[in-house]
Symmetry: C3
Subunit: 344 residues, 3 copies
């Protein structure tokens, strides 16, 4: 029994500690197909090798979120197996598209620790980096998570809360090598809206909804080798329900956002993300977006949009994020702040 992984508890982490996560994972065309089966995605770059090549991406990358989920999933057994809650993301940047044949490994460094005042748990801050088989960075991100203490009486160490950017600066976005939207085919991509057609403050109701099922979210979560028990085991929660992996909601909302944001081809960065309510099988997920900012980029023909992507349980045509008390409304599942690259 001592051979199994009990996961790390709050007092097992030290600032500066580096964790090399198991298991390296090779991305394949099977991942692309399963992603298409699980999410209603129609973005042209990951859908078509011909379209991808036409914008300078050859071989054709998989969805950016495939890379994110795989890279993130590796951290779960070491970082969040004993988590109370995932509190947030920051400074997530995609450095290069991931293509079939790439093998991703993830390494994390503990960059902050803060015990909670109740003494039962604490917040662990890690910066994680996923690299490919050539040692190149595929993506990196910071994340903080509330983790149980093993021993409530273990003394609290000095708190260190890292200084994390609330937004990745536009100048820090990494443009994929060779990306060129000069000859971008709007008809093939499905919508005519270019960079200049989006205005800061504009909201888009993505209209469509998908009702969640247990087999689908379990298949997705397993595909990323994410081992958090609550997603798979009806005996792991008092209510006997399987909690949907937050990343499943992100991918569902991102795919739904095609309807109105079909040209938001590539995710360049995730500035922040909050899973504000749990999602379960039977919930019908809808999405809306808000344009938060725009920026120039160095890629020919490409601009950057900073978007808020909101997933809701049930459609909210009013696109309201918070109540009068300033808190997220209960039907809001996800509030994601991210940068995408679009044709000008």
């Amino acid at each position: 029994m001592t051979k199994t992984n009990p996961g790390n508890f709050f007092e097992d982490f030290t600032v500066g500690q580096v964790i090399e996560h198991a298991t390296p994972r090779t991305v394949t065309e099977g991942d692309r197909a399963l992603y298409q089966a699980l999410y209603p995605t129609r973005f042209a770059v990951p859908s078509s090798v011909e379209f991808a090549a036409s914008v300078g991406l050859k071989p054709a990358p998989v969805e950016d979120l495939v890379a994110f989920h795989i890279a993130f999933g590796k951290t779960v057994p070491d970082v969040s197996l004993n988590a109370v809650a995932n509190l947030g993301y920051a400074e997530c940047r995609f450095h290069r598209p991931v293509v079939p044949g790439d093998t991703l490994s993830t390494r994390s460094e503990v960059i902050g620790l803060k015990q909670n005042s109740n003494g039962k748990s604490g917040v662990v801050y890690v910066r994680s980096t996923a690299t490919n088989q050539r040692g190149e960075i595929a993506l990196e991100w910071a994340r903080w998570v509330m983790v149980h203490k093993r021993d409530i009486d273990a003394p609290a160490r000095e708190a260190l809360v890292p200084d994390l950017a609330t937004v990745v600066a536009a100048d820090d976005l990494v443009i994929p090598d060779g990306l060129d939207f000069t000859d971008y085919d709007l008809v093939a991509a499905g919508e005519p809206h270019r960079f200049d057609d989006y205005a800061v403050g504009e909201k888009i109701d993505h209209v469509d909804g998908v009702t969640l099922t247990d087999p689908e979210h379990m298949m997705a979560t397993r595909l990323w080798q994410n081992t958090a028990k609550v997603h798979f085991n009806t005996e792991a929660r008092p209510d006997g329900r399987r909690l949907v992996y937050g990343g499943h909601v992100i991918s569902m909302a991102r795919a739904l956002s095609f309807n109105g944001l079909a040209n938001a081809q590539l995710i360049a960065a995730i500035n922040a993300g909050a899973h504000t309510s749990p999602a379960f099988a039977g919930d019908t997920v809808y999405a809306w977006s808000e344009v938060l900012d725009t920026a120039e980029t160095t890629a020919p023909g490409a601009g950057a949009l900073r978007l808020r992507l909101v997933a809701t349980k049930g459609r909210d045509e009013s696109m309201t994020l918070r109540g009068e008390d300033g808190k997220y409304l209960p039907h809001v599942l996800l509030d994601l702040d991210y940068w995408v690259l679009v044709p000008r």
Copy 2:
């Protein structure tokens, strides 16, 4: 909200109009595997690269219906998002097998329009063509669909109902380049029945049944990037059920037909198809076939069978299609008329 696609309404179509559909889609080995996971198919050509090569098909094609579903799915956002009902198919011909790496795009031309007498909707006739990355035709078909009008008071235009063949003539069947059934291995394929063993009028009860589930039909339908809301969203229908995509029933019945038609390796054409009753999760789908016609072909060792493929809810050993009133019996889900290529 104006950025999202409301779909076309009846009065948005004009005869002669050409629609280039989004999104190009590259077929992969992942599609082959998912098709095998979703349908109980065992046809030797799409199952084995060795078998496919032995009949002159190299690289190995995916199931013909993979190509059909992908090509068809692209037309949904433009043609049938506001459909009341899919009324029929005709003149569907498969021009060449689709192999992993092929990227399919679909274009449709409006070939007929006829407003309904109630003034609320009309029938739109389109001819659609799917081409690969080399511009070669992969398949083509005609389809007509009843579409809502946006404005009931919009005036009716002159009706034009195209003249569509009830059956693709045997001489018009396209034989894949290189196809040669001379050295066809009946043992590997699973059954000894050759072209001459099938007689016009013969019926085959395929015996086996599969009970449908929601996650499976949703995964299939998404894989083809078909966006019709009723398949995914329990809030889209008053009964809270998800309607199973008709193509899912086609593929299920086709796979079940292996038991008795194991050598019906390739679909050459679809003459007609009617989805006569809706299918839902929990329904157990069975299939039977009737041999409608036979024909010579130019391919060495290959003949063509024209078959009726009927999917039923529950097994019907009597293989009865219609009641005494001439109407489809209520347990009939699908009546598909198609041509297959079999060894002589």
Copy 3:
């Protein structure tokens, strides 16, 4: 109706009979991805082409059980379509890893027959061999299954019960060409436990559980082209439930065993297997292992562990296999005896 396969009944088998099973099946990267989606596997060899290459396996094999399920599935239509029960396996040896692009075919020889005293059924013993497209053996195994008689009055033939080894001798294990664990990366693989860390008699509770669903086990079983009706059709059993394919439970338990046996990279042999209780959707599967034996191997840096892998419905921290009456406890689903290769 005579064209469909009724399956073989007991009196259709004769000792020495050889059956070439349909359908050859090419393994693809899609199979790898679906296996990852359906089971919580994280073994480094099938997960990473880089890791596989680092231990001498290039191209990267799929999970050994992918090959087992595909090879086994081919025998179902000919051997066990009319089975009352699968009684056991023996002498299963994996001869070489299966890689994407390999096409597997299976041939079986009847090696024993014994009619039951009730005259209604009998036990059929077959030895099956799966070969790849080069005619090389991929794996072989013996299996015995109780099969209905078509005609209860058919006379009993002389009984022949083959002599099957209860355990594959360590010297008979086949080591994959090129396998070399000398530079095995324990960190990437996920656990530090080497061959010498496991002691005969040691038991490992793998802790994690997965709740089964119908769509997932059907997708898995179809992927292996296994056609046994009880897995797919709610009308095939009086209770209206779909029986989970025993191989699904094997794969689930094997994947769960990663937690404590992460370095048990390759299955070399299966000595015996008993599906002791049926599994259904809603059951939560857990696993525990017992080390039964250890052995040297000829592969550099590799040892062999003989393990008992037990799947249970609900977690059994006591890891008890049988009751005081010597019978399997009712919550035990699977008792599998197999050899794995691990780094020294």
